[in-house]
Symmetry: C2
Subunit: 556 residues, 2 copies
């Protein structure tokens, strides 16, 4: 088990390499059909029967969702369905879960949750509306995937049902947002949701419509036509340009040299002895293009898009493949004026479909940081460019240390941080607030004050006074203070840090998204750790063996 987890996962893929999904585009409408290869598991030891999925299947789904946004501006509706004859999707593969370590399970759920959130964001913000055509039994994670789309059509054939059988069958929760979306998105009445989540066979036909579990049931003969019609209606409401050309997402280039991972704009050095990943993000190498035509021409060469792709890949890599690296330390390098110029461009052309996508992608990537179970420190030093979009990295950090003045070895002037318009709305966190709003909960006036200072260089003292950084040691204290803070952090219980960070990072309101990552995931993680699920006689362990689970009956 532990050995299997050392398997290195690569999150980069492309349609030509898909093994589990078929993507078809027909004008304004795309169809994403699940067709999981039974022998295509990411790791050995299980077969992906009945369109059940593992992380590998979901990596392809995430890639498809991403590419539909960038490569297909003309697509305004996406039909998710199954290419199998007799099943829609049986959910996450249970044998895979049963043989996975606790950390693997939790990380798998986190990624699948992010993918489903991306589907909802594509619908809501990119105006590429997802709907589901449930053309066969749809259980567990399969139904949770459907729940992430905005419209669910189900076959009315006596055999097809939606179900969340995790509790009766496996003694765990539907771990990918199912419970939250039932009551908070679809507003299924709580007592009906309670019943639904306890019947293995699920609910079919008209009752599923009445209870709000699906939107429509249709005889098999009219299924395809109904989906086409509904997709066309949803597509008609979209503002996506039918005649624009997409931007090709070329493979993200990454060089792994020992413990160094190098991209074009991002470098990460892993210090295994200390369990630290030192991440340096480079600002733009040149001034931005002058108009939106040039942005489109640059495509993924455009610095903000390239940056988002690289940072996203690095976060996923570190989360999945470097579990013991508990502290990520982020630095930036480059010129503040250039970052400012790029941010002005992203602000000025926010109505352009591609610029909108780039901003949303940066937002998603920053959200990944918020929900990563790693401590995050920002170090703000001479030569850095914590400006606008890049300042978000410091605001996302659990702490930001900013050097007051310079050290003898510094060739640059003292560090400054700088706000841009994008700090005031472009990058909301999972709780729906900007990082500045989250930082000054209960003092909205402070955010307004900062808005008046966009573009201003704030040195350590000014940044401290403005509340943007945590500590501002000078040359004499810097090295010791930062080193001790890092050493102490890494000496603490990794689990307690995860719980603390998940609590402190999300003050203020809650959203569907923050409830999924907070409340629901925390309960699921607890259950994933309990003998009743993962002990020798736990429900998840004995599934498929013919033996019955034995439970400690004490309610906790």
């Amino acid at each position: 088990m532990a050995d299997q987890d050392r398997f290195v996962v690569d999150f980069r893929t492309e349609p030509a390499r898909y093994r589990h999904w078929r993507l078809r585009i027909d004008g304004r409408i795309a169809t994403l059909a699940m067709d999981v290869r039974e022998d295509g598991g990411l790791r050995p030891g299980y077969e992906l029967k009945l369109n059940s999925y593992d992380l590998g299947v979901d990596i392809e789904l995430a890639d498809a969702v991403q590419r539909l946004r960038f490569e297909h501006p003309e697509v305004a509706a996406v039909v998710v369905t199954s290419a199998k004859e007799r099943v829609f999707c049986a959910g996450a593969n249970i044998r895979m879960l049963g043989q996975s370590s606790h950390g693997w399970k939790v990380n798998f759920c986190k990624f699948t949750n992010e993918t489903r959130n991306a589907i909802e964001e594509a619908t809501g913000e990119s105006r590429q509306t997802y709907l589901t055509l449930v053309n066969g039994p749809c259980a567990g994670g399969g139904y949770e995937l459907a729940l992430a789309t905005d419209y669910i059509i189900m076959a009315d054939d006596g055999a097809t049902a939606v179900a969340l059988p995790e509790l009766p069958l496996l003694g765990v929760l539907p771990g990918t947002g199912g419970l939250t979306r039932l009551v908070d998105k679809r507003h299924v009445r709580r007592d009906r949701a309670d019943f639904f989540c306890t019947v293995e066979e699920g609910i079919k036909g008209q009752r599923a419509v009445e209870w709000g579990l699906v939107d429509e049931v249709v005889p098999r003969s009219r299924l395809e036509a109904a989906a086409r019609q509904r997709a066309a209606e949803l597509a008609a409401r979209s503002d996506r340009p039918a005649d624009a050309r997409g931007v090709r997402l070329l493979p993200v280039e990454r060089a792994v040299e020992g413990d160094r991972i190098r991209y074009r704009h991002v470098v990460c050095e892993i210090d295994r002895a200390r369990r630290v990943a030192a991440i340096t993000v480079s600002g733009p190498a040149a001034a931005p293009p002058t108009d939106v035509v040039a942005i489109h021409a640059l495509g993924c060469e455009f610095w903000p898009l390239g940056l988002a792709r690289e940072l996203d890949d690095l976060i996923l890599h570190l989360r999945t493949n470097e579990e013991e690296i508990g502290l990520w330390v982020v630095r930036t390098a480059g010129r503040a004026d250039r970052v400012s110029a790029y941010d002005r461009l992203l602000a000025a052309h926010r109505e352009d479909w591609l610029v909108r996508e780039i901003r949303l992608f940066l937002r998603r990537t920053l959200k990944r940081l918020d929900v990563s179970s790693r401590s995050l420190f920002a170090l703000i030093e001479p030569g850095s460019c914590f400006t606008g979009t890049l300042l978000e990295l410091a605001l996302a950090a659990d702490r930001a240390y900013m050097l007051d003045g310079t050290r003898p070895e510094d060739v640059h002037p003292p560090a400054a941080v700088r706000l841009s318009e994008l700090n005031f709305g472009a990058y909301c966190m999972p709780n729906g607030l900007t990082r500045l709003e989250s930082r000054f909960l209960g003092q909205p006036g402070r955010v307004d004050e900062l808005r008046a200072r966009i573009g201003e260089d704030l040195d350590a003292r000014a940044a401290d006074k403005a509340g943007l950084v945590t500590f501002t040691p000078d040359d004499i204290d810097w090295e010791d203070e930062v080193r001790i803070a890092m050493e102490e952090r890494l000496a603490f219980s990794p689990d307690a840090l995860t719980g603390m960070e998940a609590s402190l990072r999300f003050g203020g309101p809650e959203t569907l998204e923050s409830k999924i990552f907070g409340r629901l995931s925390a309960w699921q993680n607890w259950i994933f750790q309990r003998p009743n699920a993962v002990g020798d006689k736990g429900a998840l362990r004995v599934y498929g063996t013919g033996r019955r689970a034995e439970f400690d009956r004490r309610r906790v």
Copy 2:
């Protein structure tokens, strides 16, 4: 460990029996001084040094908070402080935690959370404002107690600090709302909260004020005077009547006869073989008094107050002493018109201080149901009186089964449910919504429609149509359907049920309270289950042994 947990806890106490608190009343101001007896632990095996506490200490605190509300209408401010020379409070006793079962720890945290929520409710709703005089080192649960009060004065003496050392010292979270209240109540900046929660020694003096951890620091010599003055200011803003007479809370009478627990208005029969507690709540035996003077004269003989006290005691008893009884089945018996009449009285006199307290107490008791980790079914049968306040029991249930018609053995006419004004605002859940609002999330119009039907008798068909009950089997199906539902429920994983119920019961918005019971408690429970805390080398287990904790360094 398991044996110790079979120890039966009695939640009933009174000031004459307090061993750990000193309650002093001086006109409008009460002082509640913590003075924990080292040898006064609820169970053997630990000493309550340094004003550290266990469940027994908190039971007395909860009782004091309750009695101040009912027995002392004249008290408008309460100063929480320590009667010890050199310490305010060291928090929950660590040895006690270290030797407790998982279930005991979780239940202990739940009760202490409820007590702190009651302190906040007393401040906000009963206008009995709590403030804290931190007259010595104040750590962990001690500071969390202070955080539950609305004003914190701390000694500025170089030794006194506030601290949340759980993470660095014990590898767990502050489990009694500390993290949530730091960021969501006191709006401590998240990066400062992060730092604060990692420094064992805490923060003292002016910095504690600047960061928002306390409201004021004062030299020791002026401490008492400062507290008196601030308490007087807060008391002056209260609407509590200075000249009213309180209501004496006489001991709750309870007879335990084998597996039957009998109160005056509540009876509970425990079926150990099936793991079911059958709870029957009786409606009023007679018509209500006609005016508020008579309510005061009746005191705790007044049916709604007696009911709240008995139900509250039963919930706490079952939670703590009957862990394996996984399903609570609630019935009512009595006349709907009498419950309606009592509800009208509670609605008409809501401005009266005592009626306000009774309504708030019923609200707190119903909230205890919401956060109890037990499945809750309501059975609505002929002869029942699920009306108004008692209808909340059915609305709090995970499911409500209502018999359509009668069975041969029934002597009463078919059951009906009935709404009262109190279903529309008196009894909000931890999420801040009424149970009806929570039930019809996203359909506020349905709540308005129901308001027009106050007082109407709704039979099974009408109740079903109105969305108030889950299933309405008739005579032929009733017995099997209810029996099978109960058997199935009790066959499921108890842990998965806890996670599911905690997710489905709280749709909609989140509050400080729901975040504490949802997000924070779930993370804490997860940590409480992890080897890094409770394994042989876990931080909580090795505390005080001189050995260092050894951690699995993988971040999850």
